[in-house]
């Protein structure tokens, strides 16, 4: 089985039915994640990161649906599994952490029970056993005094603690893949650092692959081995995280890297005007023809305005979707 990717996404399209018509909220999404690998998905708000993740775990709900393409998990095509089989995967082998630890937990249920549910659902434990396992799970995410904390309700925990509980839930059944959708945007930087480290260490210990979603390039590059950049529903570039910052290939990636003030750059290079990416992100119902970045791209030519670029392999490894890439 070695060598076979853990999850493989091919030409995935996600449709949004807004009542009158269907639009593709994301399309042509292809990537693969190996066992134990860390893979990052970055891009700005609304570019389709979360819905891609939801598609992987089978949680798209109307008005969103999978329009085309294929998701293969551990060799099996997920879409064609029965609902029950899908549920067996969900939580058990693919787990997910959400952005808002505040609202992602049920406010009227003790956190211990919310963890214990996982063991009852997937491991067939009794509630009593599951409760004990929940204490252990809490301890493993380094929540102090876990025996006491299991009975706490979410509102009694701080944001960082809640996110730890979310991680405990996600990792309870030892999944093969952990999808982390912006797990730290709601948290302070110092807390973010702790959560990220905790997640990274636990997954490394258990060989769990991570799909990490964020709009923070730095964070993703720091955590992940490979990074895919999304723009307006498409992956525009996919690279090893060491390269993507040094030698971004897609004009959008380049723009992003250049436009953000990086810590230390003023001290090193002095204060210069930041590079701007002109224009605004297109609305989902109104994607431009051709390359979706073309209205904002300084290098755009006629072909960019009419023909959607295909994903090209880069010599240095990785993919880019641009007619004019270096």
């Amino acid at each position: 089985m070695t060598g076979a990717p853990l999850i493989e996404v091919e030409d995935l399209r996600i449709d949004l039915d807004d009542g009158e018509r269907r639009v593709a909220a994301a399309e042509g999404i292809s990537f693969r994640i190996d066992r134990g690998e860390t893979f990052g998905l970055v891009g700005e708000s609304g570019c389709g990161k979360s819905i891609t993740a939801l598609a992987l775990i089978g949680l798209l709900r109307p008005p969103l649906s999978i329009g085309a393409g294929m998701i293969r998990f551990d060799g099996r095509e997920i879409q064609h599994l029965s609902a029950a089989a899908q549920r067996d995967l969900r939580g058990n082998r693919i787990a997910m952490i959400f952005q808002e630890p505040m609202t992602a937990l049920n406010p009227v249920s003790p956190v211990g029970r919310q963890i214990a549910e996982m063991f009852v659902l997937h491991k067939g434990n009794s509630w009593r056993e599951a409760h004990q396992l929940a204490v252990e799970a809490l301890a493993s995410v380094r929540v102090p005094a876990p025996e006491r904390r299991v009975n706490d309700y979410p509102h009694q925990l701080s944001g960082g603690m809640r996110q730890r509980v979310m991680i405990a839930i996600a990792l309870a059944c030892g999944p093969d893949l952990l999808i982390a959708d912006e797990p730290t945007t709601a948290l302070d930087v110092t807390v973010q650092a702790e959560i990220i480290e905790l997640m990274r260490n636990l997954c490394a210990e258990r060989g769990t692959a991570i799909l990490m979603i964020s709009h923070d390039l730095g964070l993703v590059a720091n955590v992940c081995r490979r990074v895919a950049v999304m723009y307006a529903g498409r992956i525009v570039e996919e690279r090893g995280s060491a390269d993507i910052f040094r030698t971004p290939s897609h004009p959008y990636t380049q723009g992003l890297v250049d436009s953000l003030p990086r810590l230390g750059s003023r001290a090193a290079l002095g204060r210069s005007r930041l590079k701007e990416i002109a224009g605004v992100v297109p609305a989902i119902t109104n994607f431009p023809d051709g390359c979706r970045f073309n209205p904002r791209c300084a290098h755009a030519t006629d072909i960019c305005r009419s023909v959607a670029p295909t994903a090209d392999l880069l010599e240095a490894g990785g993919l880019v979707r641009c007619h004019h890439h270096a």
Binding site: M161, D188, A193, A221, S259, P261, S265, I277, V280
Partner: protein, 345 residues
């Protein structure tokens, strides 16, 4: 770089500002406790300067800003704006204050009234402040729109017809329409699309120069703060823990919290594990004994935990720190320097 300037260069000074909120307790006021959101803050802002204010969520940054804006009555302390003491004045003076200090808000979606056109949003303040001539109003609105990079024709649209970046421009235009001297920016870009942020940062910097504004820049994003500020103040649990020139703060952070903060920023080119502090954020209702940071501080000693909190000591170069052990830590850091401030946990 930090040559002493004259006292009259100060456009804002905040002295020993404290804001306490009563929390809990019902009608009968039982078990009502005081939340010391801001507890003895001193700040100075010079003309044309940008002061960066950073700190953990809940450390009191916005509270300081709201006090300066006259939206919160301080429990104690004095605020001097452009030579006038504004604390303890009746709230009727809001109008006078409005012409000196203005604010740019974080969320461009929530900070524009969805039921008002851009024109009304910009014209009403002028009218409130006694500008009545139709032509003058139109003039000023058009000028301001051009200043922030919008076209005057767009004035008759409603906020939902604009993108996030454009809305933030409108928010900036609204803050500047009364020609204030000071603009407080509370997280002006954190709600914006990543690719838009640079536009707004550049715009703010431009306007500062062309209009001779002073900024107080509140942000989580240390990159932005570093880029924009002349001076930086770091807050922790309602107090300033470090205050100094931007270069001092970022290159030679003296307070362990500042160091932890900087170290926690993932560096895209430097894939080291992130530095962690451990411990949880303190409960502002029940602050720790001694130095507020001591429960999370890797340098903390008994002294830090038990003595009443340290005072803010200002060094000759203007760099101020509130820490018992800043000297020793600075020494250690010097030894371990070269790792760009990233400390291993």
């Amino acid at each position: 770089m930090h040559e002493p300037r004259g006292k009259d260069d100060l456009i804002l000074s905040v002295e020993d500002l404290a804001v306490h909120f009563p929390v809990g307790g019902g009608l009968l006021g039982r078990n009502r406790r005081m939340l010391r959101a801001v507890d003895g803050v001193d700040l100075n802002l010079k003309r044309g300067e940008c002061l960066g204010l950073v700190g953990e969520s809940g450390s009191g940054k916005s509270t300081v800003a709201l006090s300066i804006l006259g939206l919160l009555a301080p429990t104690r302390g004095r605020i001097v704006l452009d030579g006038q003491v504004i604390t303890g004045r009746p709230s009727g003076d809001r109008k006078a204050l409005a012409r000196i200090v203005q604010m740019v808000f974080q969320d461009p979606y929530a900070s524009l009234n969805p039921r008002q056109t851009v024109r009304r949003t910009l014209e009403d303040p002028l009218r409130v402040h006694g500008v009545t001539a139709r032509s003058e109003i139109e003039d000023r609105v058009a000028t301001m729109l051009r200043h922030v990079g919008l076209r005057p024709e767009q004035a008759d649209r409603y906020p939902h017809e604009f993108s996030g970046g454009q809305r933030q421009r409108i928010g900036i235009a609204r803050a500047l329409i009364l020609n204030p001297r000071i603009v407080i920016c509370d997280e002006p870009v954190s709600a914006l699309d990543v690719s838009i942020r640079a536009q707004i940062i550049n715009l703010l910097l431009e306007l500062k120069d062309t209009l001779g504004l002073s900024y107080i820049m509140i942000s989580h994003d240390l990159g932005v703060v570093e880029h924009m500020s002349d001076r930086v103040a770091v807050m922790y649990l309602g107090r300033i823990v470090e205050n100094g020139d931007w270069r001092e703060i970022f290159e030679r952070p003296a307070h362990p919290y500042t160091r932890a903060l900087i170290a926690a920023i993932p560096d895209p080119l430097h894939h080291a594990p992130l530095a962690t502090t451990g411990g949880d954020l303190p409960n502002p209702l029940n602050p720790p004994n001694g130095c507020a940071f001591s429960p999370r501080c890797r340098y903390a000693e008994d002294l830090c935990r038990h003595e009443p909190g340290p005072v803010l000591e200002t060094r000759p170069d203007g760099h101020a720190v509130r820490c018992w052990r800043s000297e020793e830590i600075a020494g250690q850091a010097a030894m371990a320097s070269g790792d760009n401030g990233h400390t291993q946990a």
